[in-house]
Symmetry: C2
Subunit: 243 residues, 2 copies
């Protein structure tokens, strides 16, 4: 049985009420119903637990949460992706799911050529989650990554647990990715990659990320299309993890 | 100026006549004319030299070859790709070029769902070369990978210089890719990856590769689509190379 991942705050066993963005994701995007089994993950602690949805109301839902476990099986692997044109985001969700991403969040950035808001944003979000579900099924994964957004650069950066090695890929960076990635994998830490849209990330966006504790790394001199980056870096994680 | 790569046998400086498959590639696929500058690479020695096409005849061409150099700038990076459906091969050529492949050869395999022969094969070959050219330009590469095939599994395996670390990716293999890949990169050796089509490689094809000295490696338990594999492994090479 495939389980959805939903990030929550202050997870505890027993009756657990969710509202706000977690409720929105669970009910509007994932469209879960009563009795559905989901995997709740405490964003701050990294603990997780299986939960049954027991009641869905207008703006909140009650879940029955089982025993909290110290960590999820695979290390968390996040992709923050600058919103790209046309079908590129669909392809990124497919590739990233297949290559083991546990969370994929689309991000509005200043140089993006695409904006998504309101109903259209919601429709795309639902579409991405379906693609992730299908890709997870085809690749034999037991879980489905959480796909979210688009949201602001600041919100997206702040949504990533600080326990992960957090890396922004930037073509103007000096530090080769391997220097940040290898220690993370050797120490069994999760990794988050932030990837710009077609137009790249602005210097100000890079500064904001640095101040938030992100490492700025380069993938080399040759220019990659934004839709190739996630597959390349997740491929590297997979090979380096020796799985 | 972008230069085409053409593999030849027994390369030497001065007047140099090419015929057979190298002639075919140069004149039919690349459609080069007199005075075009190309990069000739000696398949066995790995030496290379710039050359001007001086005369094109019915079945052979004469080139004026400059000084032989010990090796090409980047290590050779080959992709042998089982012929896949529809636009997948186009996407693979694009991704592989962007991520640094120097040679891409399509291969007929027993479980392939697609066959290409005669005129259609030629048209596709020309199309792939154009895609490689465009992808090389967009990624700022100074050279264009040679794209060939489809050809038989045996011929494709035999076309790869033995000086490369030659790896078949197979989902039933036990050895993680990193064990074969890391030593190759540390020693500055070129790498060749052979990737099956949608239906995978047969046990007989794996046996043939083993006998020819190829290493059989796994990319982990999760199932990858054939069109994701090249990007994932070339991404790993790129990150591991620390460029």
């Amino acid at each position: 049985m495939r389980k959805y991942r939903v990030f929550v705050e202050e997870l505890h066993a027993g009756e657990f009420v969710i509202s706000g963005s977690a409720f929105h994701h669970l009910v509007r995007v994932l469209r879960v119903r009563s009795e559905t089994l989901v995997l709740l993950i405490d964003r701050a602690q990294g603990t997780c637990a299986h939960a049954h949805v027991s009641e869905i109301r207008e703006t909140e839902a009650t879940l029955l949460v089982g025993i909290l476990e110290p960590a999820i099986g695979a290390e968390p692997l996040w992709i923050l992706q600058g919103l790209a044109k046309g079908d590129k985001c669909d392809a990124i969700v497919r590739d990233a799911t297949e290559l083991g991403a546990t969370t994929i969040r689309f991000v509005d950035t200043v140089r993006a050529v695409v904006r998504l808001e309101g109903e259209r944003a919601m429709a795309r979000s639902i579409r991405w989650q379906k693609i992730a579900e299908e890709a997870a099924r085809q690749s034999g994964r037991q879980d489905v990554p959480q796909v979210d957004g688009p949201e602001s650069w600041l919100d997206a950066l702040a949504s990533v647990p600080e326990s992960l090695t957090r890396i922004v890929l930037w073509e103007q960076a000096d530090e080769p990715l391997i220097l940040a990635l290898l220690p993370a994998i050797e120490q069994g830490k999760g990794v988050a990659f932030a990837i710009g849209p077609e137009g790249g990330l602005s210097e100000e966006e890079i500064e904001v990320a640095k101040r938030a504790g992100w490492i700025i790394c380069s993938l080399g001199r040759a220019i990659l299309r934004t839709e190739t980056v996630a597959a390349a870096v997740l491929g590297a994680v997979r090979v380096l993890s020796g799985t």
